[in-house]
């Protein structure tokens, strides 16, 4: 599997980036502050007054390193990117299958299957680790429901049924989510999913983690040449990256929910790290966000064996691997799309 690459964030105002051979050089006040070999980078993000030489931009485009320019406050301005990855035959196949309800259902059930089984693993692990503290009876029943539903999903062909199963499973899962919180229970109470805006600390953590996943899913799909906006489980909606949402499903429990629970249960997230606004919306402070980002990055480094590829790779590469498997399924290399199933 290919290497996990880094993103270079340049926030120093007045910085100038140029190319020297195969390296990216960061100059501040005419002094070289940093040199990075281009092959270790996946992207460069420039905030505010940061400039790049045209040769560096060209070199980045050739090497598949995306360069983004943001305002000092992080609003996206522009992006320099090389040729579109992948090929038109793949994208056409994606559009054709998205237009076809039966073909969409075939893929949608796999995204949902991955989501449900991985939710199941999150719950089963909590049972194993904190058997005495959690609502064992209710969770146990849900585990059984989830494995029964999963067996049925493999042969489900109606998109509406698949969406129904997904909705019901999400209800069951989030119905037990509060039971999986075993520490700081008074400060972190989860009574259901809300996001616009998040109205409690748990939802605040989840929403932020999901937005990280969303961005990772987008770039994984773009890297393999798929259109992140055209989905199968999620239908087209302007401004929404439906395929990124599809691909995220199997990763929500593994990369986001599990991490949110650890942050709470290990006391890395604290009540005082959140603020309740006048409207009732909950936001996290910079320190909590930094802790969360650090833990997210750490989690991405963890190596796992991919159960279908039978290859070791860091968790951070999983979405890329799944995007690749999705493109191989669409090109006819695989009999179904194999969701990532966390063990």
């Amino acid at each position: 599997m290919r290497k996990m690459l880094n993103t270079l964030y340049v926030t120093t105002q007045g910085a100038y980036l140029n190319k020297e051979g195969e390296t990216v050089v960061v100059n501040i006040e005419r002094e070289t502050r940093l040199r990075l070999p281009i092959h270790t980078l996946s992207s460069i993000v420039c905030f505010g007054q940061v400039t790049c030489s045209p040769f560096l931009l060209g070199h980045c485009a050739e090497n598949g390193v995306a360069v983004s320019f943001m305002t000092g406050y992080g609003r996206f301005l522009a992006r320099v990117q090389g040729p579109v990855a992948g090929n038109v035959l793949l994208r056409r196949q994606q559009y054709r299958q998205a237009d076809d309800l039966a073909a969409s259902a075939r893929l949608a059930r796999m995204f949902v299957l991955g989501k449900i089984l991985n939710c199941r693993t999150v719950m089963a692990r909590a049972m194993r680790d904190h058997g005495g503290k959690v609502n064992a009876d209710g969770i146990d029943k849900t585990l059984q429901v989830f494995s029964r539903v999963s067996r049925g999903l493999v042969n489900e062909t109606a998109l509406d049924n698949i969406r129904g199963i997904e909705g019901q499973a999400a209800n069951d899962y989030f119905g037990h989510f509060n039971d999986l919180i075993v520490a700081q229970k008074a400060d972190f109470v989860f009574a259901g999913r809300n996001r616009r805006p998040p109205l409690d600390r748990v939802n605040c953590l989840l929403s932020f983690l999901y937005s990280l996943l969303y961005h990772d899913a987008r770039s994984a799909l773009e890297t393999v040449g798929l259109d992140p906006a055209v989905g199968f489980l999620h239908r087209d909606r302007p401004g929404r990256l439906s395929l990124a949402l599809d691909l995220m499903e199997e990763f929500r429990p593994v990369l986001a929910d599990r991490l949110a629970l650890s942050l709470i249960n290990l006391g890395q997230a604290r009540k005082k790290g959140f603020r309740v606004l006048e409207s009732g919306a909950v936001v996290m402070d910079d320190e909590t966000r930094k802790t969360l980002l650090t833990e997210y990055q750490k989690r991405k480094q963890v190596e796992i064996e991919h159960p279908f590829l039978k290859e070791k790779l860091p968790l951070g590469m999983l979405m890329f691997a799944q995007a690749q498997l999705l493109s191989r399924y669409l090109r006819g290399d695989l009999d179904e799309y194999p969701p990532y199933l966390w063990r």
């Binding site: 290919r2 992948g86 299957l113 089984l117 969770i139 029964r148 039978k310 191989r328």
Partner: protein
């Protein structure tokens, strides 16, 4: 006669000879990745491709010469072409590594000769392969058999591109040397692997795990 839009690249012949799936991944799927082997080859060619013209005695040497054949629908570059005083045209192709057991390098060189014959209106009887490893030239004679093999490969590549269908992977030892291995997934994208079987296995695994380690003490409830 092919339309220019339908020309295939000379390098595709080489890729096709090595592995039809690799050829499809590069030229249809537009996937490229570099590893040690491709980087070495690129550097060797960058040196050969300096587009210098040289004259050694009565031989004029041209590097990186753009060539094509409308009859075969083929275009690309010849690394080195020697123009001898007696009118002889002599193509030389640079290769990293050592001479190979199969004829893929010869096929590529022969295809270059076919292009040059068409463009220059001459007959080209021989050329040479220069291998980086032993730094030696190996003469290649463009006999009827090799010409036939080259033309056959060209039409196979055209057929592959016309259908646009990437052949299924077949894992072989050479896959470990291929820079596209991680994009190709030769162990997973074969007819032998089935996602349905993988899913069935995973579901069975969950049932077994539940049976072995009942999550609840009351294991009776698991036999639903």
């Amino acid at each position: 006669m092919y339309a220019e839009a339908d020309y295939v690249m000379l390098s595709a012949l080489q890729h096709y000879q090595y592995c039809p799936r690799q050829c499809a991944l590069i030229h249809i799927e537009q996937i490229w990745a570099e590893n040690l082997h491709t980087a070495e080859g690129r550097i060797l060619h960058e040196r050969a491709d300096s587009r210098e013209k040289g004259a050694k005695g009565c031989v004029r040497t041209v590097r990186t010469l753009p060539i094509r054949s409308a009859r075969l629908g083929l275009s690309g570059q010849a690394d080195v072409v020697e123009f001898h005083e007696d009118g002889k045209v002599f193509p030389v192709e640079y290769k990293r590594g050592r001479p190979k057991a199969n004829r893929c390098d010869e096929v590529q060189l022969c295809a270059q000769a076919l292009c040059l014959e068409e463009m220059l209106g001459v007959a080209i009887m021989e050329g040479a392969l220069f291998y980086g490893r032993n730094k030696r030239r190996h003469a290649v004679f463009f006999d009827g058999q090799l010409r036939h093999l080259a033309e056959e490969t060209v039409s196979q590549v055209h057929e592959l591109f016309r259908t646009g269908v990437t052949p299924k992977a077949e894992y072989a030892k050479k896959c470990d040397q291929c820079s596209l291995m991680s994009a190709c997934l030769p162990k997973s994208c074969t007819d032998a692997r089935s996602v349905r079987k993988y899913l069935a296995g995973m579901l069975r695994g969950i049932d077994e795990k539940d049976a072995q380690h009942p999550v609840c003490d009351d294991s009776g409830r698991l036999s639903e």
